[in-house]
Symmetry: C2
């Protein structure tokens, strides 16, 4: 068949998994045909052959589930994630259970982030340690001036990055622009006094044209990073942000809604495809995901696959959700320095205040480097001990 001879750069390969009782060969063939030329029209075989998908192989898993590798010609789609998703799952998703376990794309497919981990680290000037990121809390109800106060506090204490909560969009009481206008002087003050750049990833929201306009205006007003939830807004938005010269800032991608697409064992996508592969080819620079050592249910294996997919492509992995200072050895067992550790309440709800939360992370990193224990009785008085007494280690 024609696709057998294609170069890898021209082929998109997808591993589908089906529940017990579903014939993977039959479904794989249906996908290869139905998601490409649609139907085999008599007399048109030659004309459509170049567009037809191909079932590569099938496999039966020990638990009775089945898998099928299907390959598609890359010229069937238009180099974006939207047409890719329509092809690889699209209409078929309505036909019955199928979960995409793996997705292999040509290296240059889609849109690649312009910053990645190295670009973000270079901006902040941090070397030799993980970056520490905070989240403004509570998510809603703080005025832009409240945020500026918190920013000064955690900035003086040495926080590298901060972000809005993803559930803080443009609201009547707090537009992204009003937040940047209130916080920009503080970022400049940190730049001046500490000779370093602190990044603030501001939440983008709104319909596509307004969101993209807003992103441009935010950058003009001094924003230095974006936060976007691509599963809620669409990868097409992230691709546009990551391509246009007027929005050339690091993009932090939030996993909001990923569970709706990846939580089921039978439908949607493996989390490593959602938070790994699609992010790499969809323009993200840094990707937030739940960490197994945190407070959301994710397996260590899944976390590893997400992190490795991101790291191998040069993106910044951002383990999140339940991150607190005392457990730093569990969050970074390998002392990975090419990572951004993201803590919300783990900084903002520190018993001695947010600045102490930041100091506790720095203290924890140094202590972990010296292989000192984290038990409360072994810790000197200070921010880390207070954190461990509140959240454990």
């Amino acid at each position: 068949m024609m696709t057998a001879s294609r170069e890898p750069e021209q082929v998109i390969r997808v591993l589908y998994e089906f529940p017990k009782g579903v014939d993977p060969e039959r479904q794989g063939k249906l996908l290869a045909l139905g998601q490409t030329v649609g139907s085999l029209v008599p007399g048109m075989a030659a004309q459509i052959a170049d567009y037809q998908g191909l079932l590569d192989s099938v496999d039966a898993l020990p638990d009775g589930r089945g898998q099928a590798w299907v390959r598609y010609p890359a010229h069937n789609v238009s180099g974006d994630l939207g047409s890719l998703l329509v092809m690889i799952l699209g209409k078929y998703s309505l036909a019955g259970p199928a979960k995409i376990r793996k997705l292999e794309l040509p290296t240059a497919y889609g849109t690649r982030g312009r910053w990645g981990f190295d670009g973000i680290a270079r901006l902040t000037g941090v070397t030799g340690r993980p970056l520490f990121m905070g989240i403004f809390k509570p998510a809603l109800g703080l005025s832009p001036d409240d945020l500026a106060c918190i920013l000064r506090d955690v900035g003086e204490a040495g926080l590298d990055l901060i972000k809005d909560d993803e559930i803080l969009p443009d609201t009547p009481a707090s537009t992204a622009l009003s937040r940047i206008k209130a916080c920009r002087p503080v970022l400049e003050e940190i730049e001046r006094t500490q000779k370093r750049t602190m990044l603030y990833a501001v939440t983008l929201s709104g319909r596509a044209d307004k969101l993209l306009d807003s992103a441009r205006r935010l950058r003009e007003a001094g924003a230095n990073a974006y936060l976007l939830s691509p599963f809620a807004y669409g990868f097409s938005i992230m691709e546009a942000l990551a391509s246009h010269p007027d929005t050339n800032l690091p993009i932090f991608a939030h996993p909001a809604m990923a569970g709706a697409l990846g939580g089921s064992p039978d439908y949607g996508f493996d989390m490593s495809v959602l938070l790994g592969t699609l992010m790499v080819h969809g323009g993200a620079d840094a990707v937030l995901y739940p960490t197994n050592a945190g407070n959301l249910p994710i397996s260590s294996d899944t976390e590893t696959r997400i992190r490795e997919t991101l790291s191998q492509a040069g993106l910044a992995p951002v383990p999140s959700a339940g991150v607190h200072p005392g457990a730093l050895p569990r969050f970074l067992p390998d002392r990975n320095t090419r990572i951004i550790l993201n803590a919300g309440t783990g900084i903002m709800d520190h018993p001695q205040g947010p600045a102490a939360g930041v100091r506790a992370f720095h203290e924890a990193w140094l202590r972990w480097g010296e292989e000192e224990p984290f038990s409360p009785e072994s810790l000197p008085e200070g921010p880390l001990k207070a954190a461990v007494l509140k959240w454990g280690h």
Copy 2:
């Protein structure tokens, strides 16, 4: 609690369903808090009270599953579907199974389509019968000139609308613009000779900024309808298309990927939310969905809820997938005339050719109006009989 006194127009209500063994009260409270203010910060109760969600009620279903109604202040989000999805499911989707069964929005929330069923029917000039829509097949491999030939054929036979397959994006061999340029003369010929407007919904694809530019250029080149897959491209795109004066054409929304978000019993959304509520508030004019009488698995109850949600809001329901002429009485048991019947192979693969496929639909509608039987032996020779002999009735 503050939200108890809100006007309905200020409140967003969501019915969540949880699997057996999950406590709906606990999860409902977690959602009301975690998806709004995030955490209860001591001393800030007054400041954040106005943003906090509220658990309205819980219910236990006979099968052991649980439900919870949660209400959120509408001013927590920015009037678009992106921030709405982040709030009502977003991060919580990673916490465990939860399926949104119902979504109640303020009437004016979001973006409403500018055309709806009435606008589309007015454009085509059809009254007193359902509209008939075809799909170019095979989906890939036809040149723009091939499409123009097919268009002339089905247009002369009286087809009201046609669309690209959703899996035909901009490809090197067939851009949307090349298709419109090839087909526009045929549409004008139909306008001239038949004194009616035939609509051709062309597939939009690409990253957000390019897609929106392309939509504008397509309209300038004579496109008269758009086809978009909002679950793959993002509702933010559809909202932009439905708002901007330069893209003021009927939007046909395709359900590609809806199964990934709605197929699982435990995760994501009810199909009537995906293909009903979100479409109504996301700017669609016409919505394709699988019909229970077709070849994809969907319950009659679900189809009814989708169709009624769309119809009540003035949108055009477009039952699809496995639609063929002989089964018209099953597709339209109530002789609904405010609907668009969409057939792909049911027209294009008619044994006497696509034009006969179109004629078979018209013949079927007349016959169904006269309550004549559809059994092959009762049918006169002609397109309908040929269709029934091939696909049944």
